[in-house]
Symmetry: C2
Subunit: 335 residues, 2 copies
C-alpha cells in the first residue's frame, strides 16, 4: 500500500482478495458473510490498520454521548469558569465535551448552520453569543437540543443573569458605605458585534440607583476600557489621577477591577480607604485578591446549563426553560 496514506476499503479488498462490498458487509452485517471470509477480511483489516471512515461517523450520528459548547473568548477567566461547570456535570453524566471556540460571526454561523458538527453532538451549549431567528430555527429544525447562556431566545432554553440588578447591587453597596463620588469602568462599547453586551446593563443599573439617590455620575467618572490589562490600567490611571478622584470604582468585570487594584497600589493609594473597588463576576482570582464583587456564580451557570441540556436530551418534549440565576454581593476587603 502507498506508504503514507490511510488504507481504504479498497486496500483491504485487494489485500484480502474479495470485493469492497464484502468488506463493507463484514463491517456492517458480519453475519451475512461466510465466517472464513470474514476472518480473512478481519485479519487484513488489522494488518492494514484500516478504520472505516464514514461508517464510524454514521454510527456516531445516532447518539454520541457528546455535547458541544460554542463560546467566544474561551480563554477569559469567566468563560473558563463556566466551562468548568459544564465539564463537571457532563463528566459525571458520562458525556464527553467538545469545545468549539467561536471567533467571528461567520464562524458562529458556520458552526450553527453547518449542522455537520452537530451530527457529532447530542446537544449544544451556546455561551454569550447572539442567536438570531434564523439560527434558532435551524437548531430547532434539526432538533438539536440547546441552551443559551447570557442570551435568550423564545425558542431555546436559556440561562441569564440580571445584569441591571447587578449594577444596582453594586451601587447600593457603595452608597451604603457612604461614598459620594463613584466611578464606573467597563467595556460599554460593543467589543465585537457577535457578542453580547451585558456591561451596558450593569452600567445602567448602577447609574439608575445613583440617580435615585441623588448622586451624580459625571461623564469623567465613566470610563470605557476593554478587557485588556493595558486598557483597564490606562483607564484606572486616568481616573485616579483626576484632580478629584472618585472614592469608589465599580468595574464591570473582575479582571478590570484587578487592574485597577494594581494601579492603585502603584499610586500608593490605600484600598479601600482611598479608593474602594468593587468588581463583577467573582472569578477565582477575586477571592485570592480579596476583591468585593457581584457574584454571578459562573460554575453554577455552566452546571445548570449542562443539566438542562441533558434533561432535554433524555426527554425531548420537555418545555423550554428560561432561567435567571440570582446575583449576589460578596463583600471582601476592597470596599
Amino acid at each position: 500500500m502507498p506508504p503514507n496514506k490511510k488504507p481504504t476499503i479498497y486496500d483491504v479488498a485487494k489485500n484480502s482478495g474479495v470485493s469492497i462490498s464484502t468488506i463493507s458487509r463484514v463491517l456492517n452485517s458480519p453475519d451475512k458473510v461466510n465466517p472464513e471470509t470474514r476472518r480473512r477480511v478481519m485479519s487484513s483489516i488489522d494488518k492494514l490498520g484500516f478504520v472505516p471512515k464514514a461508517e464510524a461517523r454514521a454510527r456516531a450520528m445516532q447518539h454520541t454521548n457528546r455535547i458541544g459548547v460554542l463560546t467566544p473568548f474561551f480563554t477569559a477567566p469567566s468563560f473558563v469558569q463556566r466551562l468548568r461547570g459544564v465539564a463537571a456535570t457532563l463528566s459525571k453524566a458520562n458525556y464527553e465535551l467538545v469545545i468549539y471556540p467561536v471567533d467571528s460571526v461567520e464562524h458562529l454561523q458556520g458552526y450553527i448552520s453547518s449542522i455537520p458538527i452537530m451530527q457529532n453532538v447530542d446537544g449544544l451549549i451556546i455561551m454569550s453569543l447572539a442567536i438570531d431567528d434564523k439560527e434558532a430555527k435551524r437548531l430547532h429544525d434539526n432538533s438539536m437540543q440547546s441552551v443559551l447562556i447570557e442570551y435568550s431566545h423564545t425558542r431555546l432554553n436559556s440561562i441569564e443573569i440580571d445584569d441591571v440588578y447587578g449594577g444596582q447591587l453594586a451601587a447600593r453597596h457603595l452608597i451604603e458605605k457612604g461614598h459620594k463620588r463613584m466611578a464606573f469602568l467597563g467595556d460599554i462599547e460593543p467589543p465585537e458585534k457577535y457578542a453580547i453586551h451585558p456591561v451596558k446593563s450593569r452600567y445602567q443599573g448602577f447609574k439608575k440607583i445613583l440617580e435615585d439617590a441623588g448622586i451624580p455620575l459625571p461623564k469623567k467618572y465613566v470610563m470605557q476600557a476593554s478587557y485588556s490589562q493595558e486598557s483597564s490600567q490606562q483607564a484606572a490611571l486616568e481616573l485616579l489621577n483626576l484632580p478629584q478622584p472618585p472614592t469608589a470604582i465599580f468595574a464591570a468585570a473582575d479582571i478590570q477591577a484587578i487592574s485597577i487594584m494594581k494601579v492603585a497600589r502603584q499610586l500608593k493609594r490605600h484600598i479601600p480607604d482611598d479608593v474602594a473597588i468593587i468588581g463583577f463576576d467573582d472569578i477565582d482570582i477575586a477571592e485570592y485578591m480579596d476583591l468585593t464583587t457581584i457574584r454571578q456564580n459562573l460554575d453554577e451557570s455552566g452546571r445548570l446549563a449542562a443539566e438542562i441540556l441533558l434533561s432535554h436530551i433524555v426527554e425531548s418534549d420537555r418545555t423550554l426553560q428560561h432561567i435567571k440565576i440570582p446575583l449576589q454581593l460578596i463583600e471582601r476587603q476592597t470596599t
Copy 2:
C-alpha cells in the same frame, strides 16, 4: 422537494437553475461566480434551508481544516494560556479548533484509538498527557499528524520544557538573594496517572542546586500540596507557622505561589522581606500580582505547537521535531 428530506446541492441546483458545480462554488469561492448568479443561488439556499453536510464535504476534500486538542485540566490557568496560543495561530491560518477535555486514561485511549474523531480533524495537539507506544503507533499508522506538549515520544513531534533547569533557576535566584532557609511547595505526588509530573523535576533541579551550594533542604521544608487553593494554603500555613519558617519559598506553580502570598498577607508577613516567594509558569495573574516566577512562555508553546502541526500537515514528510523551549526567570516584587 420531498417533504421530509434535507435538501442537497442537487436540490439547490435544480431550484436555481444552475449546475451543482456552481452551487459548490458559491459556497467555497463566492468571488468566482457572477454576482447575480450568486444572489440567485443564495436565495435558493435560504429558501430550501440548505446546509452542506460536513461528512460529504470532508470526504471530497480529504481534509477538514480543523485541528483537535486533547488536554486534561483544561480550566487550569496554565492550560488555558497554552490553548490561547494554539487558538491564536490556528485562527490566523484559518483552521478551526476543537478541544477535547480528557479526564481519565480511558478517555484518552478512547479518543486516540477510536479514530472516529480523527476523521474530524487534520491533526492533533496533545497536552500534558502520557502517550505510550501503542497510542503513538496508532497515530502514526493512521498518519495523524500530532504534536505533544510537555511529553515526548520518539515517533511524534514534541515541545517540552526543561523542568529540572527551571528548578535550578529558582534555586540560584534565591541563593543570590542571600537566602539560607528555603522551602519547596508543590504537587510532587502524581495527581493522576495519566498526567505528567513535571513538578518532580522542578523539585529535583531546585534541590540539586541547594545541595551544591551546601544549603540543606530539610524534609519539613518540602511541602506536598495539590493545586487546590485550600491545599496550598494549608501547606503554606504550616510552613509559615514553623518555629523557624523559611525565608523563601519556591512554589512549583504560580497558582500555588499566589495561595502562599495570600496566607502570608493574612499572617502579616511582609513579602519579600519576611518571606520571598517565587513561582513557576508565569501565568497572567502572576504579573497582576507582581510575582517573581520562572516563565515557561505558555502562549508561545501553544503557538509553536500549532505551527509545527500545521507545517507537518502541509508537508507530511517533514522530519520530526523535538523542541525544548527555554525557561526564563522573571524577577518581580516577591523576591
